[in-house]
Symmetry: C4
């Protein structure tokens, strides 16, 4: 019994850790399997390849799905806290990485969702021990997170602008150029979609203004967009500079609770009390 448990512990180390040679070998093999299975799914969607290699890729798909299903089972079994693993980010990703194949048996085309396996590749950071990379990602996440209030406001403003300018374009382009039917700006939702495509300077060109007034409005919209879209860049830049340099810390004064002290502060700037 103890031997059994020890074996499970050894397996756990191989599967969840990347410290031992065996664990490292397992992780690298896994990353290759994931990459190959994602590539297989992508290739299968190309008609010319599907016509010739369809059966082979179908087999490959099920081989990888079997491997990943077994792996998921082993992870659940060897994990010390299976529920916690199952609910973690990678636990959920591991599960939904195998589901699409089974769903594909019932729903046509559903197996394309297998591409979600690519999320499992994010494990690569752990395998390569890229502590620097994770620190970088962490800093980015914190920068984005601490800007969330400003980003929310920003998106609200952008959506309001696109809704209103989309509607204006719908009216302006609609009154002219009937030609039997409306062209391009056929409805408000499509005009709003166009406004988003325009304000972000994406500019597909599938819908374009043809009336002089519409072109004037477009010019105004895209120039306004430029001033507005400088804002998220500015926000994120300010956060990154703040995070990487020694900007006011979040440490609070033990006497009065004020925070936001400079990194070299020894005394609270509001009450004069000593900081830790």
């Amino acid at each position: 019994m103890a031997k059994w448990s020890a074996q499970r512990e050894r397996l756990r180390e191989i599967i969840f850790e990347a410290e031992t040679p065996a664990g490292r070998f397992f992780d690298v093999t896994l990353l290759w399997c994931i990459s190959l299975s994602v590539i297989a799914v992508m290739l299968e969607s190309v008609q010319e390849i599907h016509a010739v290699w369809g059966d082979f890729l179908y087999a490959v798909e099920w081989v990888f799905t079997s491997i990943f299903t077994i792996e998921y089972g082993l992870r659940l079994w060897t994990s010390r806290k299976p529920l916690r693993y199952a609910r973690s980010f990678f636990g959920v990703v591991d599960l939904i990485s195998v589901l699409p194949s089974y769903i594909g048996l019932f729903v046509a085309g559903g197996h394309a969702l297998m591409v979600i396996r690519v999320l499992r590749l994010l494990r690569i950071f752990r395998v390569l021990k890229m502590a620097r990379h994770i620190a970088g990602a962490d800093m980015l996440m914190r920068a984005l997170y601490s800007s969330r209030a400003k980003i929310t406001v920003f998106f609200t403003v952008v959506l309001t602008i696109t809704l209103i300018s989309g509607t204006l374009m719908y009216m302006v382009e609609g009154t002219h150029w009937v030609d039997g039917e409306r062209q391009g700006f056929t409805s408000i939702p499509i005009s709003v979609y166009w406004a988003i495509v325009t304000v972000t300077t994406l500019g597909f060109g599938d819908i374009t203004p043809v009336t002089p007034l519409g072109q004037l409005l477009t010019s105004a919209l895209v120039l306004t967009g430029y001033a507005i879209l400088a804002v998220p860049t500015g926000i994120v830049t300010a956060e990154i500079i703040g995070a990487s340099a020694g900007n006011p810390t979040s440490e609070a004064c033990p006497s009065c609770g004020v925070h936001g002290h400079l990194p070299d502060a020894r005394f609270c700037r509001r009450c004069g009390g000593k900081l830790d």
Copy 2:
């Protein structure tokens, strides 16, 4: 009479404040009504939906317009200073949110302007008590406002560049490629519109240069554009960094001479001595 006035006061609290449960309920209901009415207007503009649900959506429009008209009346009546409310940002928005329906009775298509109701949704920040969000928006506005001189200069420069390069393209593309008629760059205003679309890297592709010289000029224009368009981003970023940091001041501590204190500092962070 006093009871009447008290009732008006209670109604005012419900309508204008979001502190009491009733006030909160009123505001949330209102936000749902606004969202639904905006969605209804958008859907009505889609021909396929209009064909089937046209009458229903027409009814919905008038229900919401009635509700908002009554609400506007109540706001005017319960407000302590009705004129001040009527002239405030939200007062004007509330009024022009109901007008398009009535205008639509006389002018075809005019009711699409109802989408302006979306501006009323900005009240959401108050309902959700997102003080942080309002602070964020406020900071953005101040950053943009204090950059207005630079932004004006920037727009003047961009317009001058687009006017001149648009005219150049009109001449360059016009001398070649006649083919019976001019193509693309058919007039200076359209060429200026094209130059704006190009310099902002929007690039619809509805008008594109076809002569070698035109393509050379386009390359030069878009690369110049890149150097120029880095400027508003830089301006806004500099303002945001300046505004968000509550940047250390250059004031020095009278006791120890250390400087670089935060703007709200009352005590030196190095020696704990009192600042002026």
Copy 3:
């Protein structure tokens, strides 16, 4: 004779200065004339308008050209140093603002160059006494100027990348998709033009990759472009922050010649000598 000279002086004040009411009136009238003449040139290029209003706009053009020719003569005559004025930025602009009309007598279409008159509108900053604006423009110019070394390097790198990736695309897209004729990437210069349009994220869509390898290269190019194009934004932002905040000054130490001291420096940080 003295009276004559005094009159010339009075005229000079009206034409060149904006301090007296008469001078101000002259400048505002001039700005209106310039705006109207630019608009007239633009409208004349629109075929539908030209068909109806052609003769009228032709007359307008010559009225304004006469006014500007007389004005240029007066400026030359009243200026204290006519040669210096003639060689100054506005002197040259004033001259080339009237030339296109006369050139248009001999070369068809040449009068469209009159749009260059829009440069004269830059005088608006002086008329409106927008000292703030000029300071802003000045700061921008200095920020761009002090970044010129980095910007030169940046453009060299971008041109090298676009030349090489354009040629690669020419070869990749050329070997496939013959279909009787090459499509899109028909020559290296056009492919380089495409690469510039792509790397700046302009993306007209007049030429697009159709081979899988070409699409892969395009993806790599635009993602690389993103990392590279963050650079000018970063450069300009850094300069603007440096220019607006109190970054190291360019003042040199009188003792040892070291410069780049902080704005509050009283002693040289290298030799300890006193600064002015």
Copy 4:
């Protein structure tokens, strides 16, 4: 024998250095040859020019290839450490600049690779003694290099997002709009290509969403893209600011306690006392 060696040394100075008049003349001539040969290759690819000037340009190509082959031989021969030169960046570039002509004898179209000669033009920085420029390039490289961890994370995130959103679009656009054949989003690889084109706001418009759900997803993708693409700009800006400022350190003066000295400071800028 010694004379022979001295002659080789003299030749080495002319070829590798730009200090002597002869060396300078050699370098400037070389840059002109490179520019002309690159322009010749580009012009040769234009069909109309090839038809008329093909033979002439073919001759030009071989003249320059001969010159560059001899030059490469001389560099190898005169260099003190030929192997080290052959393996250096410019050594490799010099070699692959002449190879395409010879390859072109066997593989049709291969000589277009000669455009790679443009890399040799980077020598211009040395010839013009643009120490400033090289310092600028150096700073940029260091800024990019020290950001490599964050940039890697950024690209991983972008690729993951484009893979998943590309697959989603493939499914969404595929279920609708069959019309005999799928349109636009015909396979996952093409959809991923589209997602990259979209998220970078390139927006060719060769493939565009036509279903309402696809347009909604596109809007979400491009807005998300905006928040994400602000990140590399922020990273690079932060690095440039950090690198260019020689930012004040947090070290304090032992005499007066003032801190925020420049990194190369040896004396306190406030009291003139010696720093550690």
